[in-house]
């Protein structure tokens, strides 16, 4: 009788997950499939929709110069921001973890920038700071260094946008800090007895212990970086000469400015494939460096 009661209770779970089930089907699964189908059409948001086979993809790969440029820019942005953010947040977390006083206030200060995240207010601040006559150049000039065209020079514009992203390393840092606090103190004591130095202690004890959270952070940051939109749209509008024309921005322009939604869907699937491949590669590397507590090494 008892088990039948539990089974009956189990049925009720469907009521609780119903909102999500509807959302999954209508707002996630359906759009996912639909965008794949759109990518083989010339859908233009005004009702017209004909299947045109692989034309969108062929056009992307053979005719659309912007597209290759965008992929390059997006990958470069990811390669600049993800390692930059991870290294900085890890370094600061390690330093903070050792500090005995003032951790709270320091943590707040480092976290503050990521609080405002991708907000427009901060994007505008960045635009102003890095203008030709902005504060950053004024500081450089003060030290007798000549101005750099942070937003106007195609060689540095992407670095400028990356700096905004890296500046927001605080939330990963807070995560790492929490992970560092979890590392059992006894491990260090044992290492001390064995005569390990500080570097050894870090690479043999601390680092392996925090690899799961490190791995997770890298995955999430990569997925976000590959889809970046706001800073490119607000600060540089993709310029100069498309040097910051990221895939997210191209998708927006194609789909929502020119209403070429079929075409934009094709590039959205390229973004998806890019994310998928990179994520799978990262997952593939996992067994070489990520250490999970419950496995025996």
């Amino acid at each position: 009788m008892k088990s039948s009661k539990i089974a009956k209770r189990g049925q009720k779970a469907y009521i609780y997950i119903l909102p999500w089930l509807i959302g999954l089907l209508v707002l996630q699964l359906y759009p996912f499939i639909a965008s794949f189908i759109y990518s083989f059409t010339n859908y233009n948001a005004f009702g017209k929709m004909n299947f045109i086979g692989l034309d969108n993809y062929i056009k992307l790969f053979t005719k659309d110069r912007e597209f290759y440029k965008s992929i390059g820019v997006t990958l470069k942005y990811t390669l600049l921001t993800v390692p930059g953010k991870i290294i900085l947040s890890l370094a600061v977390a390690v330093m903070l973890n050792k500090a005995r006083k003032g951790i709270g206030i320091m943590r707040t200060i480092f976290y503050l920038p990521s609080l405002f995240g991708g907000s427009i207010a901060i994007a505008l601040l960045w635009k102003l700071l890095f203008m030709d006559s902005g504060l950053i150049n004024s500081i450089l000039n003060f030290f007798r260094i000549s101005s750099i065209s942070w937003l106007g020079d195609p060689k540095v514009s992407l670095v400028t946008l990356s700096s905004l992203e890296i500046w927001q390393f605080g939330s990963s840092m807070v995560m790492f800090l929490a992970a560092l606090k979890q590392v059992p103190q006894s491990l260090y004591e044992a290492a001390g007895i064995d005569g390990a130095n500080r570097a050894q202690a870090f690479f043999r004890i601390t680092f392996p212990q925090i690899t799961p959270i490190l791995f997770f952070t890298i995955i999430m940051q990569t997925i976000n970086a590959l889809q970046n939109f706001t800073s490119a749209f607000v600060i540089t509008k993709g310029g100069p000469v498309k040097s910051t024309y990221m895939l997210g921005l191209k998708l927006y322009n194609d789909g929502f400015a020119y209403y070429k939604m079929g075409y934009a869907s094709a590039s959205s699937w390229i973004i998806f494939m890019l994310i998928l491949v990179i994520t799978l590669i990262l997952f593939g590397t996992q067994r070489y460096w990520v250490f999970y507590e419950d496995e025996v090494k």
């Binding site: 539990i6 209770r9 189990g10 049925q11 009720k12 779970a13 997950i17 909102p19 089930l21 509807i22 959302g23 999954l24 707002l27 996630q28 759009p31 639909a34 948001a45 600061v92 050792k98 500090a99 200060i109 480092f110 976290y111 503050l112 920038p113 990521s114 609080l115 405002f116 995240g117 991708g118 907000s119 207010a121 901060i122 505008l124 601040l125 635009k127 102003l128 700071l129 006559s133 902005g134 004024s138 807070v174 995560m175 929490a178 940051q221 889809q227 939109f229 706001t230 749209f233 607000v234 895939l247 927006y252 789909g255 929502f256 869907s265 699937w269 973004i271 998806f272 994310i275 994520t279």
Partner: protein
């Protein structure tokens, strides 16, 4: 040098590095705050952090600049969008998390797998058909695209976050409540909910923050200026004029981040706990 002084010096050095880095981190924010009191000329070509005189003029002018509608209205719009979205997200995520953690049902494993995979489903790949759906429903240029996504738990981060938290609560609690004759909803409402409060609060804070800061979705779904949120209005302010009054832009940018700052300092504990226990992006 003795070992002790060496250690002390190393410590002082580490602190110095942290403090310098910290200053670099907050300097842009401080600068933004003080720039909002400067004249437009003073913003450029001066290294001074503090304004020559604190003028509230940029705030007064900036408040009413964009398109004949003032920031009071934009603030109002933002809260009309953000608050229901946050509350609905928290509500639906809690119900779904409850369904997933406290019951055994057919297909649970597969559905949970789907939930996890939606965590990594990029917004970029679903945004166009989603837009089409909302246009068919005739809710473009309203806040319903945000509300509906919240009602139907389409923010898998929060569902996942609450699932993780709820897993940590012992099932004995439910069991004994059932023996006392409670129904499933009462178990959630009376037994689990009080214990879930910190997690729910964290989820709510982050959803508030992300929706408040969001730009991409607002840009796509909202077209008319009278429905603009603060993000959209701020963006408008550098588009509309030929000569951008940067002091006014900075003043309104300060106004825009004030709610976030207040929220952070009031609920700092939940922020830090939320980030560190769930591993969310920030």
């Amino acid at each position: 040098m003795s070992k002790k002084t060496k250690k002390k010096m190393r410590e002082a050095f580490a602190y110095a590095r942290l403090i310098i880095l910290g200053l670099i981190m907050v300097y842009p924010l401080l600068w933004m705050f003080f720039a909002s009191f400067k004249s437009n000329e003073e913003i450029f070509g001066s290294l001074r952090l503090l304004p020559k005189s604190f003028s509230l003029q940029p705030y007064i002018d900036g408040w009413s600049s964009a398109g004949g509608i003032n920031y009071g209205k934009f603030f109002f719009n933002t809260f009309v969008l953000v608050i229901p979205t946050t509350l609905l997200t928290v509500l639906s995520s809690t119900l779904v998390a409850y369904g997933f953690t406290r019951f055994n049902f057919k297909g649970k494993k597969q559905l949970f797998g789907l939930l996890i995979s939606t965590l990594m489903l990029p917004n970029a790949v679903i945004i166009i058909p989603r837009y089409t759906i909302f246009r068919t429903l005739n809710v473009i240029d309203t806040y319903w695209p945000f509300y509906l996504a919240a009602v139907f738990a389409c923010y898998p981060f929060f569902t996942y976050m609450l699932i993780q938290f709820m897993r940590g609560l012992p099932y004995d609690l439910d069991e004994s409540a059932y023996i006392d004759g409670c129904g499933t909803f009462r178990v959630l409402y009376q037994i689990l909910l009080p214990l879930l409060k910190p997690a729910i609060f964290s989820a709510g804070l982050f959803q508030f923050l992300w929706t408040y800061n969001d730009y991409f979705n607002s840009l796509i779904y909202i077209n008319s200026v009278k429905k603009f949120t603060i993000s959209l209005a701020l963006r408008l302010s550098i588009d509309a004029e030929t000569v951008v009054q940067w002091n006014q832009v900075m003043a309104m940018a300060c106004v825009a981040v004030i709610p976030v700052v207040i929220l952070f300092f009031v609920a700092q504990k939940y922020f830090v706990e939320g980030v560190s226990t769930t591993g969310l992006k920030g």
